[in-house]
C-alpha cells in the first residue's frame, strides 16, 4: 500500500472537488477505490489493462487461491484511483471458492477495502445474461457505472441498443465501449472521476413474507438495505467476516422463519430475468436478417472435429512443447552464461570468505530463479493466446470426457504437457482451472511428469547400464528405456490423479456449465501484460523461497563440523605430495597440470564428503541402502534438491576419490566405481533403482516453491514432497529387491 499513500498527497492537493469528496468522505486520506466486476468473457481483463497498463500488482485475498489484482489508473491529469479487478462471475451467489472474494468485499461496508463504487462490465452482444449481475449489484445500493463492452460485436449481430433509453431504465451512467480497441476508455474515465450516487432504480424487491426476517437481520447488523440483508440470510455460512455468533444468530432466524434458500434464489433469478426482458424490450432492437452461419461455428466444425480437432490440438501442444523445451533453451543458456560470467568476474577480482557465499550461494540461487523466466514467459504467451482467442474453451470441450475419468479437468492437459518441459511454469498454468479440486489435483500430479531437468540424470544412468543395441530393427534399446521412463512418470501422474479424485473431499460442486465464447483475435497488449504479471509473480514470490533454500544448500555443502574439512583436505594434500615425490616421472611432464587439477578435484571431493551435506549422506545411508544406494548417492540426492541436474555435478565431484585421472566423463567415473568385492558398483539393479527414484521423487525446491505460491500455503507442497518421495522410495525398493 506504500505506493498508494505516496500518491494521495497529489490527488488530495489538486483533484476536482467532487471526486475529492468521494474519496475523502469514506476513507480520509486514501485514493478512490473502484472495483471492476463483470461476467467472464465480458472484456473485464481488457478494460483493467486499458485502465492501469503496467501499474498493476498482484497480491492475495485472504483464505483463497485467487490472486488479488490491483492497479492505479490516472483518471484525470490530477486524479488517480485504485482499481481492484474481481474474478469474473455470473451472479452474486458464488459457486466457487474463488468467487467468494466478491461477496467478502462487497458485503462489508465497514471494511477498509470497501469500494467507493463499482464499474460493471457487460457484453453488449449478450445483454440479457450480463444484466443479471448488474441488477443484483444495483440492488445492493452500490454506486455503479455500466461499461457496455463489445459494442462492435453487438452491431455485427444486429443488436441495436438505445443507450439513452437503457440509461433511463437502469438508473446508472452507461458508457458504450470497445475495451479491446480502447474505444470509450476516455469517456469512462471522465465518469469515474465524478462522484457517483447510489443507483436510483430498484429492480427486485424481496417478497413480503421474507421482510420480517430480512428486517431483523438488517437492524441487527446495521445494514443499509434489504437486499444485502437477504444475501446475509442466503450466504451466512460463507461470508468470511461474520463471527460464529453472527452465523448462529442468522441460522436461528432462517430456521424460525422457515427460509428456503434454493427456492428463493431460483425465484429471484426468474423474476430478474422477467424484469430484464421487459427493460430490453424498450431499449434494444434486434434486426436479424438471414444471417450466415456464424464464423465461430464454421471454425468449430474443423477445430472440434473428431479427427481434425484432435490432430490440430496435438499440433498446438507440440508447438507449445517445442517453445518451452527448445526455443526457451537459447535465452536460458544466455542467462546461465551471464550468471557464470558474473561469477567468474567476482571470483577473479575478489577474495575472502564472502566470495563463496556470494557466488555459490546467492548468485547460484538468483540464477536458479532467473533461469525459469524464458520458459514461464513462453508458456504464458501461448496460454494467453489460447485463452484470448477462445481456443482454450474448445480444448476443455474436447478433453473433458477423458480427463474427468481421472479426476482432472479438460484444462489439465496444458499443465501436464508443459510439465514435460518444466513443472514450475506448468504448475503456474493450472491457474486457468476454475474448479478448486481439479486445480489442486492437477498441481499435485504435474511434477510426476518427467521434466527436462531429469534428462541429464536419465542419459547418464541409461548410458551406463542399457546396451546400445537395436530393438525390432528400428528402435534403440536406450531410446526405448528413455521412453519407458517418460511413460512411467505419465502413468504415475494419471493414476495419482485418479486416486486423489476419491480422497479429496470438497463442498464445491464441479460444473461444466459455462459460456462457449466466440473466436476472436488475441489482444497483444493483454498477452504481454499476462507475461509480465506471471514473471513478476514468480520472481518475487516463488523466487524468495528458491533463493533461501539455495543459500541453505550452499551452507550445507560448503561447511562441516569445525576442523573436519580442514583435516580431510590436509590428508589429501599430504598424500598427493607423497605420490608426487615417489613417482616424479609419472606425475610431472607432460601432465603436470592434470596432476594439479586432479589434486584440487580430490580436495573438493574430500571437503564435500566432510561437509554437513556429506554427513547427511552418511546418516542417510542406512535408510537408502535397501534401494541399493550408498552415502555418495545420498549426498547427490541432497544436493540435487536445488535442481535435479545437479546430481550429475555432485556425482562427478564425489566419485573423484580414489580414481586416476584417466576417467574423465561422469559415465566413465561411474562405471569405474567398485563395490567392496571389486565388482562394478553400478549394476543394472542399482541404476534402475536410481532411475525409478528420479522419475518419482520430489527433487526440486523450485517446484515446491511454485506449489506453495499457487496454493498459498505449505500444506500442499509438503504433502507433495512426502507423497512423491514416499512413492519413489517404495518403487525403488521394489525394483532393486526384485532385480538383485
Amino acid at each position: 500500500m506504500a505506493g498508494v499513500e505516496l500518491l494521495t498527497g497529489r490527488a488530495g492537493a489538486s483533484a476536482s472537488a467532487l471526486a475529492l469528496e468521494t474519496a475523502a468522505t469514506r476513507h480520509p486520506g486514501a485514493l478512490t477505490r473502484i472495483a471492476l466486476i463483470g461476467n467472464p468473457n465480458s472484456g473485464k481483463t481488457s478494460l483493467f489493462n486499458q485502465l492501469t497498463g503496467l501499474n498493476q500488482k498482484v497480491g492475495n485475498f485472504p483464505g483463497v487461491t485467487v490472486d488479488r489484482k490491483t492497479g492505479v489508473s490516472q483518471l484525470t491529469p490530477q486524479l488517480r484511483a485504485e482499481i481492484i479487478d474481481l474474478p469474473g462471475t455470473y451472479s452474486l451467489y458464488p459457486k466457487s471458492l474463488d468467487e467468494k472474494v466478491i461477496t467478502d468485499l462487497l458485503y462489508d461496508r465497514g471494511s477498509a477495502q470497501y469500494p467507493d463504487f463499482v464499474v460493471i462490465t457487460a457484453d453488449a452482444s449478450n445483454l440479457r445474461r450480463n444484466l443479471l449481475l448488474f441488477t443484483q449489484l444495483a440492488d445492493l445500493g452500490l454506486p455503479a457505472v455500466l461499461a457496455l463492452n463489445m459494442m462492435d460485436v453487438a452491431e455485427q449481430h444486429g443488436v441495436h441498443i438505445d443507450i439513452a433509453a437503457l440509461q433511463q431504465e437502469l438508473g446508472v451512467p452507461i458508457i458504450p465501449m470497445n475495451a479491446r480497441k480502447g474505444i470509450g476508455i476516455a469517456a469512462l474515465k471522465i465518469v469515474m472521476a465524478q462522484m457517483l450516487g447510489a443507483p436510483t432504480v430498484h429492480f427486485y424487491e424481496p417478497e413480503d413474507e421474507l421482510l420480517p426476517m430480512i428486517r431483523q437481520i438488517r437492524y441487527y447488523f446495521n445494514l443499509h438495505n434489504d437486499y444485502l440483508a437477504l444475501h446475509y440470510a442466503h450466504q451466512y455460512r460463507h461470508i468470511g467476516f461474520l463471527s460464529p455468533d453472527d452465523r448462529a444468530y442468522i441460522q436461528e432466524l432462517t430456521e424460525k422463519y422457515g427460509f428456503e434458500p434454493t427456492a428463493r434464489q431460483a425465484q429471484e433469478t426468474i423474476d430478474r430475468y422477467t424484469l430484464i426482458n421487459h427493460i430490453l424490450l424498450n431499449a434494444v432492437e434486434v434486426t436479424r436478417t438471414e444471417r450466415n452461419e456464424p464464423y465461430s461455428n464454421r471454425l468449430d466444425r474443423v477445430l472440434t472435429h473428431k479427427v481434425w480437432g484432435y490432430l490440430i490440438f496435438f499440433a498446438v501442444l507440440f508447438l507449445l512443447f517445442q517453445a518451452v523445451f527448445a526455443w526457451a533453451s537459447y535465452p536460458m543458456e544466455l542467462i546461465d552464461e551471464g550468471v557464470a560470467w558474473i561469477n567468474s568476474l567476482i571470483q577473479t577480482n575478489f577474495n575472502g570468505p564472502l566470495v563463496s557465499l556470494l557466488t555459490e550461494g546467492v548468485l547460484a540461487g538468483l540464477g536458479g530463479v532467473l533461469i525459469f523466466i524464458p520458459q514461464i514467459a513462453l508458456l504464458f504467451a501461448f496460454i494467453a493466446v489460447l485463452e484470448e482467442t477462445g481456443y482454450m474453451a474448445r480444448v476443455t470441450f474436447m478433453m473433458d470426457r477423458i480427463m474427468r475419468k481421472f479426476g482432472l479437468n479438460g484444462k489439465s492437459v496444458v499443465p501436464l504437457i508443459s510439465g514435460v518441459a518444466c513443472a514450475v511454469p506448468a504448475i503456474m498454468s493450472a491457474r486457468t482451472i476454475e474448479n478448486w479440486k481439479d486445480r489442486i489435483i492437477t498441481i499435485f500430479v504435474t511434477p510426476l511428469m518427467s521434466c527436462s531437468a531429469r534428462i541429464p540424470v536419465y542419459t547418464v544412468l541409461i548410458g551406463l547400464v542399457v546396451p546400445d543395441v537395436p530393438v525390432l530393427g528400428i528402435f534403440n534399446l536406450r531410446g526405448v528405456a528413455l521412453m519407458g521412463l517418460y511413460l512411467l512418470g505419465f502413468f504415475a501422474a494419471i493414476l495419482s490423479a485418479w486416486a486423489m479424485k476419491f480422497l479429496l473431499k470438497t463442498t464445491e460442486r464441479s460444473y461444466f456449465i459455462m459460456e462457449f465464447p466466440v473466436y476472436r483475435w488475441p489482444r497483444w497488449k493483454n498477452v504481454g501484460l499476462t507475461i509480465v504479471e506471471k514473471v513478476k509473480t514468480f520472481v518475487f514470490q516463488a523466487g524468495k523461497v528458491i533463493l533461501a533454500i539455495s543459500i541453505l544448500l550452499w551452507v550445507l555443502a560448503t561447511y562441516g563440523p569445525p576442523g573436519k574439512q580442514e583435516g580431510a583436505e590436509q590428508q589429501v594434500r599430504t598424500e598427493r605430495q607423497r605420490l608426487e615425490q615417489a613417482q616424479p616421472a609419472a606425475t610431472h611432464t607432460p601432465t603436470e597440470n592434470t596432476f594439479a587439477d586432479e589434486t584440487e578435484r580430490l580436495v573438493a571431493s574430500a571437503k564435500l564428503e566432510n561437509s554437513y551435506a556429506g554427513m547427511f549422506g552418511h546418516v542417510l545411508e542406512p535408510v537408502i541402502r535397501p534401494l541399493g544406494f550408498d552415502w555418495k548417492i545420498g549426498i547427490a540426492l541432497i544436493t540435487s534438491f536445488a535442481a535435479r541436474e545437479v546430481f550429475v555435478g555432485t556425482i562427478s565431484t564425489i566419485y573423484s576419490v580414489g580414481q586416476d585421472a584417466t576417467q574423465q566423463t561422469v559415465q566413465q567415473k561411474l562405471s569405474a566405481e567398485r563395490d567392496e568385492q571389486g565388482n562394478p558398483f553400478f549394476t543394472p539393479a542399482r541404476a534402475m533403482s536410481l532411475l525409478v527414484f528420479y522419475v518419482f521423487a520430489m527433487q526440486c525446491m523450485s517446484t515446491l516453491a511454485a506449489t506453495y505460491r499457487e496454493t498459498k500455503g505449505w500444506k500442499w507442497p509438503l504433502l507433495q514432497l512426502i507423497y512423491m518421495t514416499g512413492l519413489a522410495y517404495v518403487s525403488s525398493l521394489l525394483v532393486y529387491q526384485a532385480m538383485v
Binding site: 455470473y90 451472479s91 451467489y93 459457486k95 452482444s125 449478450n126 440479457r128 445474461r129 443479471l132 443488436v159 434454493t262 427456492a263 434464489q265 431460483a266 433469478t269 426468474i270 430475468y273 434486434v286 436479424r288 465461430s296 461455428n297 468449430d300 472440434t304 472435429h305 473428431k306 480437432g309 484432435y310 474453451a393 470441450f397 474436447m398 473433458d400 470426457r401 477423458i402 460442486r509 460444473y511 461444466f512 456449465i513 459455462m514 459460456e515 462457449f516 465464447p517 466466440v518
Partner: protein, 72 residues
C-alpha cells in the same frame, strides 16, 4: 433433452435438479426459453446449446447437466 437432435430447437419446460437449476437459471436457461442443440464434443460429451430466442449466446455443459433440463 436426450431426445433433441443436432440443430433442433425446443423450449425449456422445467429444471429437475434444484441446485443445478440455480446455475442454469443464472445462465439464462429460464423455463420458456428456447434452446438449440448446437454441437456435441467428439466423444459425445459435453455439448453446446444456443440459448435464447434471439440466439443470445452459446453455452457448453456436460450431458449429465443437460439431462436435468426438461423440454416441451
Amino acid at each position: 433433452m436426450k431426445d433433441l437432435q443436432l440443430g433442433e430447437s425446443a423450449t425449456i419446460c422445467c429444471l429437475k435438479d434444484p441446485e443445478m437449476a440455480l446455475k442454469l437459471l443464472e445462465m439464462g436457461c429460464i423455463p420458456g426459453t428456447r434452446v438449440r442443440l448446437n454441437s456435441r464434443a467428439p466423444l459425445g460429451c459435453p455439448i453446446t446449446l444456443v440459448v435464447g430466442d434471439g440466439e443470445d449466446y452459446t453455452l457448453s455443459l456436460r450431458v449429465s447437466e443437460a439431462a436435468t433440463i426438461f423440454l416441451k
